[in-house]
């Protein structure tokens, strides 16, 4: 009888491992500081996670297609700097599409290398991480970028505005998540992404254009990065060259926390959103209990590892691999 119960628990855990870890975590932190789940705090967490979240949406496509994108952090710095610079030169109405076009070109370039030339995505995007950083520095001449008239621009709406009482960054994140979630779950393109990531050869044998599918995933990722850059620029109306530095790993962590496999073929937008929220709440919770900012990096990492371990352990039904 005891074994039966264990098995039942096991199968529930296997499906919902991450959600349960998340719930436990929320409970512990709420006991430590009841402010943790106040409406204000929840709003503030979602709002500050929105930029990371938007990037994670795009990377979800790339990861499901069986590839990595480590260039999103430095690409986001690029978008932010470019849109801020162009804002004063050609006005926000033109600056935004111009920045999107430039960022999409970067995405297309990566998509070409990984999709059509079949180069390893880790190498390509790791290289692009520094290449784009160099590009950003060259573009800005190493200077920080600031908007001259911070009070008089409508451009601040994407990062600071709110509609119907909800902050615009949250609206963008939720709207984009819904749009991309549907695209991934319900359209032929989404189906192809899963097929290409699940078994590229079988996808080819089914007449699916593998290269084009991968290419499109990187375009989507770049589009999300451009959106995130716009939000970032709009929030601060000025920026350092390195604003997106390190975000690529946080984005990847969120996607993996959500349960997408790095091997490709699995994951959903909904799960990624959960992953983003987990990460956001972890960092927020640590601040609320008064941990030093620097300690956060370490603790965040530990919690990610724990969560992923729990997830894998639940899937295989025991904590340690028998091959250990």
């Amino acid at each position: 009888m005891a074994t039966l119960d264990r098995r039942q628990i096991g199968s529930i855990l296997a499906k919902q491992g991450i959600l349960i870890a998340f719930a436990l975590f929320m409970i512990v932190f709420t006991i430590a500081n009841p402010k943790f789940i106040s409406i204000d705090n929840v709003f503030s967490v979602v709002r500050s996670s929105a930029i990371l979240g938007v990037m994670a949406l795009g990377v979800t496509f790339v990861v499901i297609s069986g590839n990595l994108d480590l260039s999103v952090g430095s690409m986001m710095s690029f978008s932010t700097i470019v849109v801020l610079d162009l804002h004063d030169k050609i006005g926000p109405l033109l600056a935004i599409p111009a920045m999107f076009a430039m960022t999409l070109c970067l995405g297309a370039f990566i998509g070409f290398l990984v999709g059509y030339l079949r180069l390893n995505s880790l190498i390509v995007t790791l290289g692009m991480l520094s290449a784009i950083h160099g590009l950003t520095l060259t573009y800005s001449g190493g200077q920080n970028m600031d908007i001259a008239d911070k009070e008089g621009t409508w451009f601040s709406v994407f990062g600071q505005g709110s509609a119907l009482g909800i902050p615009v960054p949250i609206l963008i994140f939720v709207g984009l998540a819904a749009l991309l979630g549907i695209a991934l779950a319900r359209t032929p393109f989404g189906r192809k992404v899963y097929a290409v990531g699940g078994n590229g050869t079988a996808a080819t044998f089914s007449g699916i254009k593998r290269a084009r599918t991968v290419f499109t995933c990187y375009l989507i990722s770049a589009g999300c990065v451009a959106t995130a850059g716009m939000m970032q620029a709009s929030r601060s109306l000025g920026s350092q060259n390195t604003v997106g530095q390190g975000l690529e790993l946080e984005v990847l962590a969120a996607v993996i926390l959500g349960g997408a496999s790095l091997l490709g073929g699995s994951g959903t937008i909904f799960k990624t959103v959960i992953g983003v929220l987990i990460l956001g709440f972890i960092q927020n919770g640590l601040l609320l209990v008064g941990l030093q900012f620097y300690v956060q990096f370490v603790v965040t990492w530990v919690i990610i590892i724990l969560a992923v371990w729990l997830d894998i352990a639940a899937k295989r039904g025991k904590l340690f691999s028998h091959i250990a």
Partner: protein, 502 residues
């Protein structure tokens, strides 16, 4: 009376929505070859996985010798002398043959360095016993499926085994390789090892086994002595009814030439190949592995670029640059390797089946999921696919049912030219004859069908004409009236003369 080497008692195994095993008992004596038979999805592989420590039984007990054991994992099973040769290959493609065979137990030198010389030596000794045409250093990914299967078998020979489980070992072997395998089994048997042998091929079962145990829908049907039973009786126990094995020699009229190939070559893979297939005709391609049949199919499907020659579809010369183009021109290919080329194992049944037509099955910008389910239901019924529902991951289906998904996937495209490469690999006798009927039926409806098979009875059974290939060349083309087993064997071993096709 000696004791069994291995005994399973009242094993129950459930998966969500499936009762795969329902109180199965089973025992193997030392020095016995014990066949396990049953339809696709009957629970054979699951029973063996329970034995091999891959699945834990929901209920029931396992005994090795007289001792009750719990098989916590594959390594433990191996340590207890139970060796498992899986239905689905599980090799590391990037590694060499030697590394695959001794994976986890590589011989070591000082400081934990791998002792490559010893490794190579030991491996080549085993390979010599198996009489295969590759050596220890070959990369596994470069081997054909059949040869990969031989590597799996070689791996089993490195262990001091009490019992060896072969789960459909011959599904992708040629006749010559089978002979070697049967020798290996005879050796094991002589040294007192208990052997469990799963196969859908009656002639093998009756040739090499001593007893046969039968499963149906996860339930144990009984055990019979091979010498005292007949194919019909076993089939009846397996499927619960008699099987109609008459050849469907529907002699319908042939239509126009649907596919015409002239002087086609692809480097050294095959050379100067010419043939045509008419609407309503089934043409069988028979030959040894490496004869170039699969490569021809891959060329027709846009996966290889021919170095010379022409392809005509319905009289029109075409260039087929990619599978996408091939599909658009009405060609379907049921590929040889279902796991590698045919299926996305992590995807559900329905999505796998409709994968080639994702762009067409739409309602506005979205997938028309209702239409997809309808297609799935249609082919599930037509091919008798056993699954709890379309949402099941294909990877959870039994091997034969996976193969049926691949066949359904390509039938649902309603192709002009249907190419099937080893279509009934791993499929049970009942379904096999259904699929043969289906292929004949498709021809009667006007499809042009190209059947590549390494099973002579299959080729003889379904084909209107048979093309015999040897080493990349067409040796002879037979009509179904003139062909004999002997002449066919002669032609595919390169003994006959190459016949020029006018």
């Amino acid at each position: 009376m000696t004791d069994p080497v291995l005994r399973l008692e009242d094993i129950v195994k459930t998966f969500p929505g499936v009762r795969a095993l329902d109180g199965v008992s089973f025992a193997v004596m030392p020095g016995e070859v014990h066949a396990l038979m049953g339809e696709n999805g009957a629970g054979k592989s699951t029973l063996m996985k329970v034995l091999g420590g891959i699945h834990q039984p929901t209920e029931g007990a396992i005994f090795v010798g007289n001792e009750q054991v719990v098989m916590a994992g594959p390594l433990e099973a191996k340590a207890k002398g139970i060796v498992f040769i899986h239905q689905e290959l599980s090799l590391a493609e990037e590694l060499s043959v030697a590394e695959n065979i001794y994976l986890g137990e590589l011989p070591r030198k000082r400081f934990g360095m791998v002792d490559w010389a010893t490794l190579r030596e030991r491996t080549n000794a085993i390979l010599a016993k198996l009489n295969v045409g590759f050596d220890a250093a070959t990369r596994v990914g470069d081997l054909s499926i059949a040869n990969q299967q031989m590597v799996e078998i070689a791996r089993a020979l490195t262990v001091d085994a009490k019992a060896v489980i072969f789960d459909e070992p011959t599904a992708s072997l040629t006749d010559a390789e089978k002979v070697v395998l049967f020798d290996v089994i005879a050796d094991l048997k002589a040294s007192g090892v208990g052997i469990i042998y799963i196969s859908h091929r009656m002639e093998e079962i009756f040739k090499i086994t001593d007893r046969i145990s039968i499963l149906r829908d996860g339930q144990y049907q009984g055990t019979v002595n091979t010498a005292e039973t007949t194919e019909e009786a076993v089939t009846q126990m397996m499927i619960g009814r008699k099987l109609d094995l008459t050849r469907n020699a529907s002699h319908h009229d042939l239509g126009d030439v649907a596919l015409e190939v002239r002087g086609l070559s692809c480097g050294k893979l095959y050379e100067d190949v010419s043939f045509e297939i008419r609407r309503g005709e089934v043409v069988g391609f028979y030959g040894l592995v490496g004869a170039g049949r699969t490569e021809i199919a891959e060329t027709l499907f846009g996966l290889r670029t021919p170095s010379a020659g022409t392809i005509r579809l319905a009289g029109q010369e075409v260039r087929i640059g990619s599978p996408t183009e091939a599909i658009a021109r009405g060609i379907s290919l049921v590929p040889e390797d279902r796991k590698g080329q045919g299926l996305v194992l992590g995807m559900n049944c329905r999505d796998n089946m409709t994968l080639p037509q994702v762009d067409d099955l739409t309602a506005g910008p979205f997938m028309a999921e209702g239409a997809e389910v309808a297609i799935f239901d249609q082919y599930r019924d037509r091919l008798d696919i056993r699954t709890p529902g379309w949402k099941q991951k294909v990877g959870n289906l039994s091997g034969g049912n996976q193969q049926k998904i691949v066949i359904g996937k390509w039938l649902s495209m309603h192709p002009e030219v249907l190419i099937v490469d080893e279509p009934t690999r791993g499929i049970d006798v009942g379904s096999k004859s259904e699929i043969h009927k289906l292929l004949r039926g498709l021809a009667a409806q006007g499809y042009a069908v190209m059947v590549i098979s390494s099973e002579m009875p299959e080729v003889l059974h379904v084909s209107d004409r048979i093309v015999a290939m040897y080493s990349g060349r067409i040796m002879r083309t037979f009509t179904s009236d003139e062909v004999t087993e002997d002449s066919l064997i002669q032609a595919i071993s390169g003994l006959g003369t190459s016949s020029e096709v006018a």
